[in-house]
């Protein structure tokens, strides 16, 4: 797909915005607007994923080898719980995506969540950076459109 960026990259053409006509500029602006709103959505979902991983990581901290045999309430449905006992507290099952679950020991599990949180945070930083860049280009385009409109009138 076509990409818009302020920094020069291989396989990309440099375009002087002032040489484009108003229709081209507004298509460009529309495209950027769409991308920006997509970024916003992605940021929200990433934030949600981050919170989930953080919560799971915190939950792991609560389980230690001393917890073995302790009573817990297991949610069968959202509104029904049955009593159970903790067993094999050194191993946990983790959802690693696409319906696969892997058994990991405590340390590996903690490491997993730490890695995931780091990964998600990195992605968020990347998106924030790109978003900033694109909104700058968008502002420039709006300015040029206004300039051209004034020239026309």
């Amino acid at each position: 797909m076509a990409q818009i960026s302020a920094t020069e990259q291989p396989n990309m053409k440099q375009v002087d915005l002032t040489t484009l006509n108003i229709q081209q500029l507004s298509t460009l602006k529309q495209q950027l607007d769409q991308e920006l709103s997509l970024f916003q959505e992605s940021l929200t979902s990433l934030k949600m994923a981050q919170t989930k991983f953080q919560n799971s990581g915190e939950a792991l901290e609560k389980i230690t080898t001393n917890s073995e045999g302790k009573e817990i309430l297991v949610p069968l449905t959202g509104s029904m719980y049955v009593p159970g006992k903790l067993y094999d507290t050194n191993n946990v099952l983790i959802d690693i995506g696409t319906r696969y679950y892997a058994e990991k020991d405590m340390d590996a599990a903690k490491d997993y969540f730490k890695r995931k949180i780091q990964f998600v945070t990195e992605q968020m930083e990347k998106i924030q950076f790109l978003g900033l860049e694109k909104s700058k280009i968008r502002d420039a385009i709006v300015e040029i459109i206004e300039m051209k409109l004034q020239q026309q009138s």
Binding site: M1, I96, T98, K104
Partner: protein, 126 residues
């Protein structure tokens, strides 16, 4: 004459809009595939760092079924292969749609230009 032109413009506009819709659909399915590929890549990375004797389960409906690690790995790479193929198909579709859209836009502009000229002519004769 102008009615004929108007009809032409209308039909061109309709096909332009149709192409636009199809393009949107192709783009959103591309995005979906991209997301699936990413997810599978992450799972693959995760499976790769698991120890050989790790227990892996696959959730099928409400139950977890124990799977061999190798089987899981094979399954994920097969899926990635499939998704990559689909992505390529989708990309081709998007390029051809974009081309189609451009030709429609061009002929639409031409027709509009003709229409305007016809109107100017009509105004002069009146």
């Amino acid at each position: 004459m102008s009615e004929d032109l108007q009809r032409k413009i209308q039909s061109e506009l309709d096909s332009f809009k149709n192409t636009q819709k199809e393009l949107q659909k192709a783009i959103s399915s591309r995005q979906q595939l991209d997301g699936q590929l990413n997810e599978n890549m992450i799972v693959k990375d995760e499976l790769d760092i698991l120890p050989k004797d790790a227990k892996v389960y696959k959730s099928v409906g409400p139950v977890l079924i124990k799977t061999e690690l190798i089987e899981a790995k094979q399954n994920v790479s097969k899926r990635m292969e499939y998704i990559n193929k689909e992505l390529k198909r989708c990309d081709d579709l998007i390029t051809s749609m974009e081309k189609k859209q451009d030709t429609h836009r061009e002929s639409l502009q031409k027709l509009q230009h003709q229409f305007q000229q016809a109107q100017v002519k009509a105004a002069l004769h009146a």
